[in-house]
């Protein structure tokens, strides 16, 4: 079983101390990427729910850079301590409450003297409290605060009882200043800041101030040196409070410099008599600010939001510099210990590594694209996922007018043996994007140009896409059908033909390729279907061979009914067209209606021939959903179920098919399902076409909008992963609505647990470059007083040197000349008096 397709941007990533690795939270695991190659090196597995925080233990001195320890927190209610160089789990703390965010202030503070006894390590965690006890206190249901900020003693592995810093309606992420002195959360229109006490004990009281604003604040950041806090709000404003907490926090610090606030007139822009000197507002972003970060020297402020533009503000002057057209909303900004490297996480599941002062994108770690948000009226188009069965690629539509090709096997490293040849593929496959229409990223609120359909030919060499430009108040809508061809080797698709308004202004319901020839059929809700033929096949004898293009070969319609689905049979001799509720069979060459078979109750949305057999599967949605199997020999229905089917997949040469069915929505069922299936809303059924009893079933999560496909397994790719036993001929791929996928053998008695060997370090030694001081002068020698003392010990003269001179390890011995004289001297009888 192979899983993959996880989100890389669910939580902020973290750099290792040497800035050569990036730790990314990917669902239940933490994946470790090399920053020089942007490839995955290894992963830490153990959590049973999505990981929300990863904190790398910082090195106290440059020599300790190679230390690789980190803390992770997860929604499964555990905090774990890892050595991520191996990777190995060292410690697990179970606090049984989902953790949304965690900070550990004492890691960031000045390193304590190592001789002292380690104080308790405290973490502050943002919890999602689901305990029943809370609801007793609060009578009205809406008032229940779900989020809680608590303190956790990591050394003793327990929550500190009774210390609850704040209760919020939703769990808020905690932010910490880079010195570890302050931590804060935003609560709607308020920003709460606590000062972390210098010496942490369990019962110490944290002092707190609250800053107010009139808009909902989304993000905030602390200045690394001065007491400045910046916050971004939902309207795109950035507020900068200078000198916060002068009154409240000052008394403990004692270095305020006597400038304690005298009167309120001196506080420009400050609201509600908050404890700050001044507040300034910058406004450039047009929508909410998601990213806010101070540079390590505190001179610059980075901000970003939905526009996909990283803005660098000069803190003193407010001057701006931009990194425009990143292409999707920014989510997180992370700095590394290496001052020339940082990363931004984007909403399209990409992490860009930036070269710092120049803001240049060095590498990109890109995951599978998320399913794009579609408007209501275009939701009926299915999942927009097409599988290339032979090479295990999946083509996904994305909301950046692109189609992404993702290799299902290569999401993870599969084998060591084949790495060399697979490496290139892996480097290729997640990166391959096809820009369907050349448009710039528009940070608008709604999607107006949508790639609605993607279809691949059986050999994967041809692709067709349908894009729809939505009309503005009835003007300027456009449907566009495009055919693409790929060069045989590198799967790079080039545009072959554009057809504007292929079915006038009607939307296209389905596109299917002919299994053997270069032909395709497109069907529209406008009531007709067209057979397209690639041109160069027709005119090969012509001397002036033109560049290949697709032309319309035939147009057909059935009683002017909307055509809702189309499919070719396995040998391409028959074309099945669903005209609303009727299935019609056509000869694609002569465009002649061959037969009309039965009616379903509601319009058919999917048609598929079952392999080479005489059976045809049809699925219809609507009020009376149906999954039905028809036989071609009798032209009648064979068997059917009342099931809402989301996807159907047929193996090419077998007489079985798989269907992804959703559970019905009626409330009674919902309750019973809710208890038994734990959030699973769909089921994958494997049928033999001749038999209405499913061969096997699996339940699935997030099945609505999911996709299914059989994959042909080449011997090279997976053979060696199965220890003993015969490798499966076909795998079934299931991709859920979040584009997480799983591949498994549908015919195995038990689900094979494929040996997934974690990849070893892909970083080669020469990439371990040095930076900063070390790059110029080399590593500083460790200055260690103790060793000097140790080495000095044997040479101290004593009364009985032979007892001491050979003590200690051999390399600590003084030079032989020195030893020899002392030794010989000790053997000689000493005359106490001078002989006269």
């Amino acid at each position: 079983m192979i899983r993959g397709g996880r989100s890389y941007v669910s939580s902020p990533p973290a750099f290792s101390n040497d800035a050569k690795r990036l730790l990314v939270c990917t669902a239940n695991t933490v994946s470790i990427f090399s920053t020089s190659t942007a490839l995955q090196i290894s992963s830490m597995e153990g959590h049973t729910a999505p990981v929300t925080t990863v904190i790398v233990v910082p090195a106290s001195s440059p020599a300790n850079n190679i230390l690789c320890y980190c803390w992770t927190a997860s929604l499964d209610g555990t905090i774990r301590y890892w050595d991520f160089s191996v990777p190995e789990l060292l410690k697990t703390i179970n606090i049984k409450i989902p953790i949304y965010s965690m900070v550990i202030p004492s890691l960031l503070g000045l390193p304590a003297d190592s001789n002292e006894k380690q104080p308790n390590l405290f973490a502050y965690v943002s919890l999602k409290d689901t305990r029943e006890t809370i609801s007793k206190k609060h009578k009205s249901k809406s008032e229940i605060p779900i989020g809680q900020i608590c303190k956790c003693n990591l050394t003793e592995s327990r929550l500190v009882g009774g210390v609850t810093l704040a209760e919020t309606k939703v769990s808020e992420p905690i932010t910490i200043s880079s010195s570890g002195k302050y931590l804060g959360i935003t609560k709607h229109q308020r920003l709460s800041i606590w000062k972390v006490p210098d010496t942490e004990t369990e019962r110490v009281v944290l002092r707190k101030i609250t800053l107010h604003h009139t808009k909902r604040m989304t993000v905030h950041a602390f200045h690394p040196i001065q007491r400045i806090v910046a916050a971004g709000d939902s309207t795109g404003r950035i507020l900068i409070w200078r000198g916060f907490g002068d009154k409240t926090f000052a008394s403990g610090e004692g270095l305020v410099g006597g400038k304690i606030m005298s009167n309120d007139e001196d506080k420009p822009g400050v609201r509600d008599n908050d404890d700050v000197d001044s507040c300034t507002t910058w406004h450039w972003h047009s929508s909410e600010v998601n990213v806010l970060f101070f540079s390590s020297d505190g001179a610059y402020l980075y901000s970003g939001g939905k526009e996909g533009v990283l803005v660098v503000w000069q803190l003193n002057t407010g001057r701006k510099k931009f990194l425009p057209r990143i292409g999707s909303p920014l989510l997180y900004y992370t700095v590394s210990p290496d001052p020339s490297l940082s990363s931004i996480s984007c909403a399209d599941n990409q992490i860009h590594l930036l070269k710092m002062p120049s803001l240049e994108i060095l590498k990109s770690i890109s995951g599978i694209k998320f399913s794009c948000s579609l408007l209501e009226e275009y939701e009926g188009f299915g999942s927009g996922v097409a599988f290339d069965n032979s090479s295990a690629l999946v083509a996904l539509r994305t909301d950046k007018y692109c189609v992404q090709f993702y290799s299902l096997f290569d999401d993870r490293g599969i084998s060591e043996v084949k790495r060399e040849c697979r490496l290139s593929e892996r480097a290729r496959s997640p990166l391959l994007l096809v820009q369907v229409c050349e448009r710039n990223h528009q940070p608008g609120d709604d999607v107006t140009v949508v790639v609605t359909l993607v279809a691949l030919s059986q050999d994967g060499s041809m692709m067709s896409t349908v894009e729809v430009k939505l009309a503005e108040e009835g003007i300027g809508g456009l449907v566009c059908l495009k055919f693409w061809a790929s060069e045989s080797q590198n799967k790079k698709f080039t545009l072959s033909t554009i057809i504007y308004e292929p079915h006038r202004d009607a939307c296209i319901s389905a596109v299917a390729f002919h299994p053997t020839r270069r032909a395709a059929v497109s069907s529209s809700y406008g009531g007709d279907f067209k057979v397209w033929v690639c041109n160069d096949e027709l005119e090969q004898k012509d001397v002036m061979l033109q560049s290949s293009g697709w032309t319309c070969h035939a147009v057909g319609s059935y009683k002017k009914k909307a055509i809702t689905a189309a499919a070719f049979s396995a040998d391409g001799s028959t074309l099945a067209i669903a005209a609303e509720t009727v299935i019609t069979l056509w000869d694609p060459d002569k465009n002649v209606l061959v037969a009309v078979i039965g009616e379903s109750l509601t319009p058919i949305v999917m048609l598929s021939f079952v392999g080479n057999s005489e059976y045809l599967v049809a699925a219809s949605w609507g009020s009376k959903p149906q999954l039905s199997v028809w036989t071609m020999s009798k032209l009648s229905v064979y068997w059917s179920y009342m099931l809402r089917v989301e996807a159907v997949a047929c193996a090419a040469d077998l007489s079985s098919f798989a269907a992804l069915a959703l559970f019905p929505k009626s409330s009674k069922c919902q309750e019973s399902i809710g208890t038994t299936f734990q959030g699973r809303d769909g089921v994958i059924l494997l049928f033999n076409a001749t038999d209405p009893v499913p061969v096997s079933t699996w339940s699935a999560r997030k099945a609505k909008g999911g996709a299914l496909s059989f994959l042909q397994v080449g011997h090279s790719s997976i053979e060696e992963n199965i220890s003993g036993g015969k490798p499966p001929q076909t795998l079934l791929a299931y991709m859920n609505s979040d584009h997480e996928y799983v591949l498994f053998d549908p015919y195995g008695e038990e689900i094979h647990e494929l040996n997934v060997i974690p990849q070893k370090d892909l970083v080669d030694p020469e990439e371990r470059r040095q930076f900063g001081y070390a790059s110029i002068y080399g590593e500083l020698p460790e200055f260690d007083l103790k060793r000097d003392q140790m080495s000095w010990v044997p040479s101290v003269p004593s009364e009985k040197p032979w007892e001491t001179i050979f003590s200690g390890s051999s390399h600590n011995l003084p030079p032989l000349t020195k030893l020899c004289s002392a030794f010989l001297e000790s053997l000689l009888e000493k005359r106490t008096a001078v002989v006269e």
Binding site: A38, R325, K363, Q435, R439, T448, L478
Partner: protein, 532 residues
């Protein structure tokens, strides 16, 4: 690595907006040959008195040409098409003219039956040859013969003249009707042909004693023009709607009959195509003009019409200059449609000379030293060799003004700037780009009166064009709804609306006609289909 680059190129890349693609024609719209013929830059010489009976080029550079019209013969420069000189010493309508092979003398005939020989430079008549009783329609100097003339006229007699003595050497009898045309063999100075309204072309040889024709071919129609093809073995005749090619060596056999004209072919001449010394050596073509206003180019090697051009008047005469630079066509209403092409062949010999000189210089070329300015420029204009690995500089995306404005989200300015730009494709492309941004209607409502006038003017011009009407019709409705107040208050805008209304009405009328035609045709098609 390359994928990385590719990926990065998506980040920070900006695409200029592009108009919708147009479907490409399956066949090439222009063959190389028709490209050649259309490369003649058209030039009209208007205001000549009546139809251009004949045109003739001087064989000598700068290739003056003589146009016979009414009672005068005008010489034009073939480079600038300006009038060079006029010969007016005719009593009646001039019918034909011919330059002598050295270009210094010019013979011209007129309807009074007189043939005159002029000095081209002084324009004085040197000899008057009077023997024809009826109008003379054809006069010609034999090939490389400076002393004799051939003429033919409505009396049906072809005369061979001794020019110096102003005497007829032989009267060639045989034609039963008007002799209208003739040509002298390009290989022999004693052989010539004449064509007559008795449908025959006769080949004469003055060396034959009994003054009978050597050969005779029957065209089938009154012959308007006859011509030897450059080899001298083939003959082309024009009469009626057809041009026929005859093989003289093979005994007067018809080779091909070209019947592409709709009306009487009035004149033919030889033209040349292709480059000298190129892979395609000079090829000869027959240019024919007819009363239907078409000039056709006929490739008699492949027996195919390779180009066809339409002129707005019945055409009477055509001629192609010996240097292949100029083509002149005379029409019946006194206009000469001239055309001149730019040629590189003119420079080629010059370049050749330089090249030979250049080689000498190359040997003497001083070596570059750091004290020379050119030393620092050396190698800058070097072209990459075939095997060189070229590190290409990333192509800079060229952005138009509207693209730049769109990038800054200044939508209205972008629309106005593109409306000023006069390229309808770009205007529609910007509008199409504004639609997904949901800003088109906002732009429309923000336009001030002057800019609205611009938009309405554009609409009036293009809203009925089928390529744009899908978008523009809908937009126009919205514009009229939202800006009704402004339009009412401004007279200029009202004028635009009136024009718009007119063009819409016209379009509706056209559509009605088309529907009527469809109504007529579709039953016919149905019947035809049933018949099968």
């Amino acid at each position: 690595m390359a994928e990385d680059l590719q990926l990065q190129s998506y980040v920070g890349k900006s695409f200029p907006i592009k108009p919708k693609l147009k479907p490409k024609a399956k066949t090439l719209s222009q063959t190389p040959e028709s490209k050649y013929w259309t490369s003649f830059k058209p030039h009209q010489i208007p205001n000549l008195v009546s139809s251009i009976q004949s045109l003739d080029f001087s064989p000598n550079p700068p290739h003056l040409f003589a146009a016979a019209h009414s009672t005068s013969l005008t010489l034009f420069s073939s480079k600038t098409f300006t009038q060079h000189s006029v010969i007016n010493s005719f009593k009646d309508v001039v019918t034909c003219s011919s330059f002598r092979s050295d270009g210094s003398l010019l013979a011209a005939s007129d309807v009074s039956g007189l043939v005159q020989v002029f000095d081209v430079k002084t324009r004085t008549p040197l000899r008057r040859l009077r023997s024809h009783a009826r109008p003379v329609r054809f006069v010609k100097y034999p090939f490389l013969d400076k002393l004799h003339l051939v003429s033919g006229g409505d009396d049906g007699v072809v005369k061979y003249w001794d020019v110096a003595g102003e005497s007829v050497l032989s009267n060639l009898l045989g034609h039963k009707d008007y002799v209208r045309c003739g040509d002298c063999s390009p290989v022999n100075s004693e052989v010539f042909v004449t064509g007559s309204y008795d449908h025959t072309v006769k080949l004469w040889d003055v060396r034959v004693e009994n003054s009978k024709s050597v050969m005779e071919v029957n065209h089938g129609k009154p012959i308007e023009d006859v011509m030897f093809l450059p080899s001298g073995g083939l003959l082309a005749t024009a009469g009626g709607n057809s041009v026929k090619i005859w093989d003289l060596i093979g005994g007067g056999k018809m080779v091909y009959s070209m019947e592409n004209h709709n009306k009487t072919v009035t004149s033919i001449c030889t033209g040349r195509v292709g480059k000298e010394g190129g892979d395609e050596a000079m090829q000869y073509r027959i240019l024919s003009v007819a009363l239907d206003g078409y000039m056709k180019v006929f490739n008699f090697g492949k027996m195919k019409v390779t180009h066809s051009m339409r002129f707005p008047a019945p055409l009477m005469s055509v001629e192609f200059s010996p240097d292949c630079m100029t083509r002149v066509v005379g029409s019946s209403n006194g206009i000469i449609f001239a055309g001149r092409t730019k040629k590189k062949e003119n420079e080629e010999p010059v370049v050749g000379n330089f090249w030979s000189l250049g080689r000498v210089e190359e040997n003497r070329k001083p070596t570059l030293r750091p004290s020379y300015y050119r030393y620092f420029q050396r190698g800058q204009s070097e072209k990459p060799k075939e095997w060189d690995y070229v590190v290409a500089r990333p192509k800079k995306v060229k952005l138009g003004e509207h693209d730049k404005l769109l990038k800054k989200f200044r939508h209205k300015e972008a629309l106005v700037s593109v409306l000023n730009g006069k390229n309808p494709e770009n205007v529609v492309a910007v509008m199409e780009e504004l639609v997904p941004r949901r800003k088109l209607l906002k732009c429309v409502s923000n336009l001030d009166n002057e800019e609205l006038g611009l938009l309405l003017g554009f609409m009036q011009k293009y809203s009925t064009a089928p390529r744009y009407s899908g978008l523009l019709m809908g937009l126009m409705k919205k514009v009229l709804e939202t800006r009704a107040e402004d339009i009412k208050s401004s007279d200029a805008l009202k004028g635009h609306i009136r024009n718009l209304k007119r063009s819409i009405e016209e379009e509706i009328r056209i559509q009605q006609y088309l529907q009527e035609i469809q109504g007529i045709i579709s039953p016919l098609l149905r019947i035809a289909g049933r018949g099968i």
